[in-house]
Amino acid sequence: MIRKVRSHITQNEDLIFERSSPGKVGYQLPALDVPEADPSALLGAANVRGEIEGFPEVSEVEVVRHFTRLSTWNYAIDLGMYPLGSCTMKYNPRINEAVARLEGLAWSHPYQPESLSQGAMEVVAKLEDALCEITGLDDITLQPAAGAHGELTGILLVRAMLEAQGNPRKRILVPDSAHGTNPATAGIAGYAVQNVRSNDQGMIDLEELARLADEDVAALMVTNPNTLGVFEENIMRAAEILHSKGSMVYMDGANLNALVGVARPGDFGIDVMHINLHKTFSTPHGGGGPGGGPVAVKKHLAPFLPVPRLKRLKDAFAWDYDVPQSIGKVRAFYGNFGVLVRALAYILAHGGPGLRNATVDAVLNANYIRHKLAPYFDLPYNRPNMHEVVFSDDRQSAKGVRTGDMAKRLIDYGFHPYTVSFPLIVHGALMIEPTETESKQELDLFIDAMISIAQEVDEEPAKVTSAPHATRTSRVDETTAARKPIVRWKP
């Protein structure tokens, strides 16, 4: 039975271009306090553009209604549980938004004098310190703009260190359970990717690893807990194998939410890792970004971190560009500063004990879901999990219903789907990450919905394969979209 939602009226809305009528405006500018300018005279007629054909012309209220109406067609954490595995969709405290908009922080220019930037630089310093403490690593850069950008930065650090030793090496080892950004990053950093097959428990196979590890391997990229939500219990052995060949261990920190306050990557053999501030530290995902991808390292990689580095002088902060072994810059200025402000506010609000409690609740919530759903869905790797749990559609696909179908049906029950078909090592995966901010009530509603869907698969599978039924947009034809791409409006 569907208990969480019932339908309500939503407004129709055209594209803004179709709402336009000539002469309408939604902006105001002050009267000019200087003489008017003649663009053709100042720029040369050839440099001046004509009217922008098809550009919107609408009033302010039309803009507000346009976006408000569109917003009601979205699902969001603010509406309910969003159990997308690997994405850590937790509640985003609004205080973080408020402090990021404080005038002195939001309107600081990256080139203003350091004497007028000390408040902003303190944000950087405080966050650097907290993240080093949380990861157990020695040093950090906050410059990367997202997780994948952090991966690239981290692998470039490894490359720079190996190059300084005389040989950048050729290969990066990537487990077959890894996220797509890992191999893509290795490729962009100029390395060949070698897949490492997981063992029958879905974990790094030490024998396979020992076989593949040699002096051509620059690094292993490992996700821990891995994408099955399971802690790689042999991680320290794996690190020893790589270190014995002079290779580095890179950790994809997308799943750090399972570890904060409980275990530190720096203590289990990791040399370098990225952190997704938009996951673990709750800066909002915003429909796909922005994020923050700080990269933390052990001492031996620190000399290669991007410039500028924040220097802590006796009574002031300063930016230091004089870092001879640095890989250079990976992004202009100092990174997604506004995201850093939000992450620091989150850490201050929780404090050390609060962060650990969040970890405990996240892991407890995911285990609760595993126990409640195990009778209904196949668990390909039935092991204690951490912050997320991965089922397969084995039982349901026998009836012709796939993980993607059940995901769509979940929408009718008032939830965002779980992550579908990832990790690739699980055929027909249902990857569920509840996060710590869901209450038992919400979890129980979710569990009921999943059980109800499992029953529907038995009794009326067509209802599931044709879902969703309650949304204003029914199942979307993605195949046609890709065959004849229309990626912009035209008059």
Binding site: K24, V25, Y27, L29, L32, P39, L42, L43, A46, N47, R49, F55, E57, V63, V64, H66, L79, G104, L105, A106, W107, S108, H109, Y111, Q112, P113, L116, E133, A145, A146, A148, G180, T181, A184, G190, M236, V262, A263, D267, G286, G288, G289, P290, G328, A332, F333, G335, N336, F337, V341, G352, L364, Y368, R383, P384, T473, S474, V476, T480, R488
Partner: protein, 426 residues
Amino acid sequence: MLAACGLTSTDQLFGQIPAEARIHEALNLAPGISEFEIVDYFKGLSDRTSNGYASFLGAGVYNHYRPVVVDTIVSRGEFLTSYTPYQSEISQGTLITIFEFQTMVCQLTGMDVANASMYDASTAVPEAAMMAVRITGRHRILVAKSVHPEYRMVQETYAKNQGLPIEEFGYDAETGQLDLADLEAKLSKEVACVIIQTPNFFGIIEDVKKAAELAHAHGALLVATFSEAASLGILAPPVDADIVAGELQSFAISPSYGGPFAGIIASKEKYIRQLPGRLVGETKDSNGNRAFCLTLATREQHIRREKATSNICTNQALIALMATVYLELYGKQGLRELATQNLAKAHYLGTKIRPHFSGPYFNEFVAAAPAGKTPEGINEALLEKKIIGGLPLGRFYPELSGATLLCATEMTKRADMDTLAEVFHS
């Protein structure tokens, strides 16, 4: 809940982590604080910044007014707290705003297709160069010295690890525009692309057409970048470029000490399958209604893995939404008026302080400090009047160490420009 999991203590939840990998004492972080204390703390930090100062800094980050409505929209939880719109049926709101964003980026730049956003221009430029390398099968990259120095630094970091040789070509010491002879001399059959910026780092408008002709004559692509998007309200779009990679910070995105911003990448239609990042396309739902979804995903890392066009996953969606709301508010007429106001302000300042270069400029220009003065000295004197001066150029261009880069926008007040000119000349 513990009991339902067959456990008796929360510690057992972590039983799979080997003891030697666990920490046994608390993190060395203070206990949590209340909302009031957090506001109080960050207000204190905010006060220890440039708050209350007028500023003539541009150089890639611009002060433009942000209409209140922009924050109203992006604060809506349905936009703020949703993920990437992979589940189209419950993400049409986000998908349509991205489709409108892609459309307006095309309209502004004169390109045929644009993606859903990049981190910023400094990372969009190397992504464009990588596109050009894939398209042409060549490896050399030529970059104008008048491209933003930080974009060039990021380009360098990306390229040096892929074995892509980079060479810079100069600018004309008189006009501040591209040194086309230098460009021509450095072009060859190995060059994948030529990267230029317009208005360039000195605020000067480039001849994109000429640069494109030279590049194309040698079989190379032209990549055009920009950091001052407001210029597109009045300037002819860079239609002769093959790829445009730029920055939309000017459109309602606060300077925020350098980020988050919204980069764009756009190109000619024929290169669509080489674009990095996400793309939204139009289609229909099973009832035949117009609908939108992410498309051409076979370019991307989650499908293509090490053969993807880029490793980008999370982009700058919410910031791109800010720019989208802004562009729809300003619209056809507003964007032109905005650009014209910027032009008028900067040229008023240009009558008080003589521009160093003779090329046409939009809203910033280089000025040489009067004899016996330094840009740094002038800036010191301005700070006493609560004014932040221009960017002294010596740190990026040793040959311009006596010069400063000054910017005026619609937010710059005439009285502050008069004070600046007075201090400059006094």
